[in-house]
Symmetry: C2
Subunit: 185 residues, 2 copies
């Protein structure tokens, strides 16, 4: 009943896998070793990364937009569609993010005169200052989160995560094509 937590705190995912092997031994739980760990480390990362941002009154969602604009270089402007693709979120999500940032005076919306469907979001002066100050803190914070890893491990992990992203994206696209095929039957 009580959870075992020996002095050197066993990996939580290893316990999960043990549990499943006991409860449903016929299942091959190998994928959990990757994805359950991915999930847990992301949740921890997310909550840790939010701390310096909250100090500046900026959310992770807002930070994502501000960095995308800052990265773009002068005049620090992108369309809503570009922001959706770069942040891997829906177009509705972009609208909401931009609403909030515009209300805070960090960005301005500008309708494209050539193609009036398009809206450009541009960093305000205040937005540039905020993100330039915050990004240093952000990197410093991330460095502290990597303190337990060697540089070689970081490089190896980065490489494998890149490969995993491609693998997950491939499965996603395979699903979408299958959906299109069966849609016309």
């Amino acid at each position: 009943m009580a959870q075992r937590k020996p002095a050197h705190e066993q990996d939580a995912v290893a316990s999960f896998v043990e549990d499943w092997n006991r409860e449903r031994p016929e299942l091959d739980t190998a994928p959990l070793e990757v994805f359950a760990r991915l999930h847990r480390v992301f949740l921890r990362y997310q909550s840790q990364i939010s701390k310096p941002m909250e100090g500046h009154g900026i959310s992770m969602a807002g930070f994502d937009v501000l960095t995308a604009l800052r990265r773009a270089g002068a005049p620090y402007s992108r369309t809503a569609g570009e922001l959706a693709r770069s942040g891997l979120i829906s177009s509705a999500g972009v609208t909401l993010r931009i609403d909030r940032l515009e209300k805070d005076g960090l960005i301005v919306r500008e309708r494209d005169p050539e193609d009036r469907r398009v809206v450009h979001s541009r960093l305000s002066e205040q937005g540039i200052e905020q993100i330039d100050a915050l990004f240093n803190e952000h990197l410093e914070n991330e460095r502290r989160m990597l303190a337990g890893m060697t540089p070689a491990e970081c490089r190896q992990l980065a490489k494998l995560l890149g490969k995993l992203e491609r693998s997950v994206a491939a499965a996603q696209e395979a699903d979408e094509e299958e959906g299109e095929e069966t849609a016309g039957e």
Copy 2:
């Protein structure tokens, strides 16, 4: 039909790093190689993993609770606090998750007769059936997402993610201790 992502489209995170080197060359962006990739692959994973669950009318949040209870073994029961820690979420979040699952008839709340502060959440018969059926699909889906990786790469990645979780957790705990020290001044 041509692929949507032609060969010349390089890794999105590599482009980010290039952008930062151009815009703010004084910054050491090495941590992004790990965390930006972690963030992106998690977002893709999250949206892909939701597909089979939606078919059963279950959210990722609900799935997390149901698996935690199923893993626990008979009588498939845990306290709210245990669920919060195992899912890395707040106690308020647990209350909401349980509210929804109870309304759907997948779990039942039972107040502990020995310690009346404690509430146990237990899988209903229907809950057990649902999660047993869904978990197979879930693992199959995860396996498809790993199709682009070799087993050796998966093991290596799992190991490094485990190490990263410990490293991130250490940074988190360091922050909390610092907060406690300065709180009493």
